[in-house]
């Protein structure tokens, strides 16, 4: 309470007395650090140590079983000059991200709009549409996916009605990645939920005012919903890009852990995992991780820069 009193004081005294402003600023900063205290603790005790350790290891030939020795930038050089599978994994992952992220987000947004309000039974539909995401990474789904898109699977059975004879989608090197992209799009529940929550953050009064002004619904969507939802769209975009670059589980369980057939689903992190835990080249895996970090950080940076042009925050006027 003492705080809040001086708080309002400083607001009124703000412009004329710089010392009070400084005091206020200091207190605000101090408060911020108190709010951030658990996070700082976690950062310095749990997060930073292992991250720095991995950076160090990336310059060694650490094998997990033995101590590594310093090899300089060998791992990084080898990655780009001698390792075809590394380049394959980069290519596979890029295709996966570029195709599945926009599709998944568009799908999630569309469904969030459809499931937001205005119809009986929406909670029921929302639950059903979220189901795939509950199941997404489970072994049972991997089995189902292989069955659905197998040579004699349901998908081919449906195609055969139209006289098309489909391949063995999951195990054909040309189509396997497609089935994983589909699996990713299909588990659109997480961004959908975030969109739903975001839609509810938009003050209802805006729509009421617009209705009174006689704005059409499409107009309302374009001039109210979309702009006010941009921070959430932005969040989903940034996070989905990060998460998709790190995709692991789906390829791991559907391909049986090897990124097959013929490396067509060899995701970056899967290859990294195989290097670290199957070939016992943890130093190399750590180097791969840092390259990925740079790639993701670069893309996120671009995302943030671009966001200045299209993201609208309620807190900036």
């Amino acid at each position: 309470m003492h705080e809040s009193m001086s708080d309002s004081l400083s607001v009124t005294a703000g412009h004329r007395q710089p010392p009070a402003v400084n005091a206020r600023r200091r207190r605000e900063a101090l408060t911020a650090y108190v709010f951030l205290a658990p996070w700082f603790l976690g950062l310095f005790v749990i997060t930073v140590g292992p991250i720095l350790a991995s950076l160090y290891l990336s310059f060694t030939d650490y094998s997990l079983l033995e101590e590594g020795s310093w090899v300089g930038t060998d791992n990084y050089v080898k990655m780009f000059t001698q390792d075809d599978r590394f380049l394959t994994s980069l290519k596979v992952t890029t295709i996966y991200v570029v195709v599945s992220v926009p599709l998944q987000l568009a799908f999630a947004l569309l469904l969030a709009l459809a499931l937001d309000r205005g119809l009986r039974g929406l909670p029921f539909y929302r639950s059903i549409y979220y189901l795939p995401s509950l199941l997404g990474g489970s072994v049972a789904i991997a089995i189902l996916w292989r069955k659905l898109f197998g040579v004699d699977g349901l998908f081919n059975a449906v195609l055969s009605i139209f006289g098309i004879e489909g391949p063995g989608w999951v195990s054909d090197p040309d189509t396997a990645l497609g089935t994983l992209i589909l699996l990713h799009v299909w588990t659109f529940g997480a961004p959908m939920v975030i969109f739903l929550a975001g839609l509810r953050q938009i003050p209802q009064s805006y729509y009421e005012a617009a209705s009174v002004d006689g704005a059409s619904r499409l107009r309302q969507f374009r001039s109210i919903t979309l702009p006010l939802l941009t921070p959430i769209i932005f969040f989903n975009l940034v996070l989905e890009v990060i998460k998709s670059f790190q995709s692991f589980t789906q390829s791991f369980i559907v391909s049986g852990g090897n990124g097959g057939p013929v490396d067509s689903t060899l995701f970056y992190t899967l290859y990294l995992y195989l290097k670290g835990f199957k070939s016992y080249e943890m130093g190399y895996a750590a180097a791969m991780a840092w390259v990925l970090l740079l790639i993701i950080a670069g893309l996120t940076g671009v995302n943030f820069l671009a966001s200045k042009y299209w993201v609208f925050y309620g807190d900036t006027k």
Partner: protein, 429 residues
Amino acid sequence: MSLGSRKKMWTVAVLTAAVMTTASACGGGSGGDSGGSGDKVKIVFSYWGSDARQKLTEAALKKFEEKNPTIDVEGDFSNWDSYYEKLATKLAANDAPDVMSIEIRGLSEYAGRGALADLAGKVPSADLDQQVLTSGQVDGKQFAIPTGVNAFSMLANPSVLEKAKQKLPDDKTWTWDEWINLAKQVSTTGGGAMGAEYNPNPAWLQVFAAQRGEKFYDGTKIGLSVDTIKAWWNISQQLIATKAAPEPAKSAELLTAGPEQSLLATNAGAMGMWWSNQLNILSKASGQELELLRMPRQKGATSGGMFLQPAMYYTASAKTEHSAEAAKLIDFLVNDPDAAAILLSDRGLPTNSKVLAAVKDKLPPVDQRTLTFIDEIKGELSPITAPPKGALQMEDILKRNTDEVLFGKTTPDAGAQKFLSEANAAIAG
């Protein structure tokens, strides 16, 4: 500004100190598991497998604790897919289990990197099959004791053969060509059933190469010739071309799906190659009495090329503080009929002749037949040694290159070269 950041540093320092104290306090309260309670010695035993194996193992460990009241064994169970990643992590943290299960492909990796203890003289091994025991040696040291053995063999489903009006072949003389022809016949007359399904397992290539006088691993190099690899792929290509086996995509599906969904196990195929200890599951799934056969031969080959491979090994950590207790547990698991009476053939058929004699009658009928089969072929077997480091990756490397050839993404010539360079790189590294 400067005030703020100084304050920040101060905050961080205090918080770091705080968490360290609370953390160690918590740790002290909940931990202390390394020493064991009272005068009991606690050792950890890690293994992988199914829930059925877990039950058997827990029972065996209980028996061991009864016999050795001063030792407390904690089973550290994990499923196969995550076993090595977990084991490696523990070793990296100096937290290795005292007794570890390892299979032959991982043996050189772990022994060569100094993780395993030499068990010679610590675990009595006089009654074990000496040839099989040798496979647990790396650089002349007995790092591992085999649990039991398997043979990679041809399995046939007589009822499917019968339906296709074909006879069970004479496996003492049959050749790869005869096998392919038989499979072709079944596919034509079998009423929907396939003749064969291929399994690009390195074990098959090893058998095939041995028939041509080549070794899969020759020291720390791959001993296969390009011609052998091509000839080996040619068998699968013929199977596919003649529809004796399903197309590559379907075959790949079947492989990932595992033994229970194989053509053989679903009575949709007549023949397939499997490890002999998989006879049990396959028979159960198919409901038929399946036949174990010798692998077909290269025409004119002097050796059948088949070999007995330990299903897995027991090893002890090089860093264990309780090596005597660890050795005692391994001794119990391989040499004590009481352990075998519980575990039976779960980890392969026991190679300890005395133990085997004691539990023989308790083995289920399927195991009895495997035993007879292994006895029959015993005189024809090639010796086996532990493959070099990197062998854990071999299955993936071979499968990838095989897929590439069979899906027509590359030529057999180029594929064989690529396989050799990748395989050599894997075991050199």
